[in-house]
Amino acid sequence: MTTRAAPISEPGARSARPARRRSGLSYLGVVPFFLFAILFMLIPIAFLIVGSFQDSANNDAITLKNYGDLFTPSILRAYGTSIEISLVTAIAGAIFGFLLAYAVILGGLPPFLRTALMTFSGVASNFAGVPLALAFIFTLGQVGLLTGLLNNLGIHIYSAGFNLLTKTGLEIVYMYFQFPLMVLIIAPAIDGLKKEWREASENMGASPRQYWQYVAMPILLPSILGSTILLFGNSIGAQATAYQLTGGTLPLVTVTIGAQMSGDVLHNDGLGYALAMGLVAIMGIAIVAYSILQRRSERWLRS
């Protein structure tokens, strides 16, 4: 399109803006964007980074003490719980979301179910936080609908040791936005699986297992891994759902940071900043791991 238009417009346009002026002045066009990002994203983060290296009890002297303090049992437990919940819901959400997306796209279900599932997933993956926590209290809480139904059937989940306001309960709740997100981000990859590949491998006598092992999985693996890491990040940064559900009794990293903000629960500002940096670092490691894994599996795919 551009080349077709070029003969008419290029000469005039070229004389209007000489190449030399481009380099300096054209950067002015993106100044508002970067200014905004610096003011409301980079400065706040920089503030936390700097604070995490300062000793608030000792005239803000430069120190690594805050990071050393992270290795206390209560904080390690918060990280452990956050990571465990995120791992469990990312993997379970990825598996179930993948099966669900595969079922509606290639599983032979009526096509309208696919449209329905995509719309549901768009809604559910954005339905997090307070209303989600409440909805599950009404479902699986002490007097919830499902709890009551199971009681009538003679299954008393609360006397069997289940409690919604625990790690397991939170995992069940998180699944509500995890698997729909998986459906949304994995669907394009499943769409990319060509029917011809399956037919070709069957023509050459491949069993379904061999097809999955040598054809479908290598193609899908980068997307599945990437999506799983995205789900992990999605869950480890969540705060509202957990806070509403457990009222802060389940110590997640995000909940601890929130408590630090409303009152100095750690009795140490610098430790709060270090706690936040630890969370950012985990997210960063996840993204780097994702790009390495993806590049490796792509290279392996090509050869």
Binding site: V30, P32, A103, G129, P131, A135, E199, N203, Q239, G258
Partner: protein
């Protein structure tokens, strides 16, 4: 389905096809059942909490009291209106920042495109709780004292939500720009004497209608229900913190408000889906309209 494919592709092997069809009968039947099992499991998971919420909201006596109480509560309409206004302002600010940037990067500065993309994706790496932590600690003290006045907190809230909207807005706008011929439109407008402001407002923006609307509704859906940032910056003036407070103090009303909030998310997503569908059908027409 696979059998048909093989039959069509291997015309010389009729007798083996019949054999293979029989061999495969079992896995095919299993292959037809599991998608339904998975789908029904997902369906139940999706709707059971909603049904439970509805059922719980209807337990209030007299019937429907939860809903009438909520609608009568001035805090309900007040917080909802506040969050809606914040959402609309966020959308305007976000569009005002992202559209010129995405346009300019596409037209003149493709070199810095990776950097701009990286910055717009950063909110995915920074959890909201950390963003608001940093914002409060940076701007609540000297010399800004922004959180001492309610206008300052509102300002920070809009700023935080604008940052949150960057990934969605940039992707929506960039996809929209890809589908129109930015360079030709710009040069056509320039050759007719239009300045940059006029090009952006009267040529580029109308062409991005559909992308902007889908980005806008997604932003609105996120902002209206948002809890973490709102609760630390402004407390119960916003809808999310109000709902949370309600959930801790009332029994049936929170169920009613949760359902209403879910309905709002649903409506926003429905509009986005509709927009997406109409965009596919009308893309060519839209571009022509912008070129006039």
């Amino acid at each position: 389905m696979t059998n048909v494919g093989i039959g069509a592709r291997a015309p010389g092997a009729l007798e083996s096809i019949q054999g293979s069809a029989q061999d495969r009968r079992r896995p095919v039947r299993f292959g037809r059942i599991w998608p339904w099992v998975v789908f029904i499991a997902g369906f139940v998971y999706f709707f059971l909490p909603l049904v439970a919420t509805l059922e719980f909201s209807l337990r209030a006596r007299p019937a429907g009291a939860a809903y009438t109480n909520v609608l009568k509560d001035p805090q309900f309409s007040g917080t909802l209106l506040y969050s809606f206004v914040v959402g609309v302002i966020t959308i305007i600010v976000s569009i005002a920042i992202i559209v010129p940037t995405a346009y300019w990067v596409r037209l003149r500065l493709p070199r810095i495109r990776p950097l701009v993309e990286f910055v717009t994706l950063m909110p995915f790496v920074i959890p909201p709780v950390i963003l608001v932590f940093g914002l409060i600690r940076s701007y609540s003290g000297a010399p800004f004292h922004l959180t001492n006045v309610s206008f300052g907190s509102d300002l920070l809230l809009v700023a935080a939500y604008t940052v949150l909207s960057f990934p969605y807005m940039y992707r929506a706008v960039d996809t929209g720009l890809r589908s129109i011929d930015v360079r030709t439109l710009t040069e056509a407008a320039q050759s007719m004497g239009a300045g940059w402001g006029r090009i952006l407002l009267q040529v580029i923006l109308p062409n991005l209608r559909v992308s902007l609307l889908s980005g806008a509704f997604l932003t609105l859906a996120i902002v209206i229900g948002e809890y973490t940032i709102a609760s630390f910056l402004i407390g119960q003036k916003a809808f999310g913190p109000y709902l949370s407070h309600l959930g801790q103090n009332k029994s049936y009303e929170p169920a009613a408000v949760s359902l209403i909030s879910f309905g709002l998310t649903w409506a926003a997503m429905g509009v986005i889906a509709l927009l997406g569908r109409s965009a596919q059908g009308r893309r060519g027409g839209i571009q022509v309209a912008g070129g006039h």
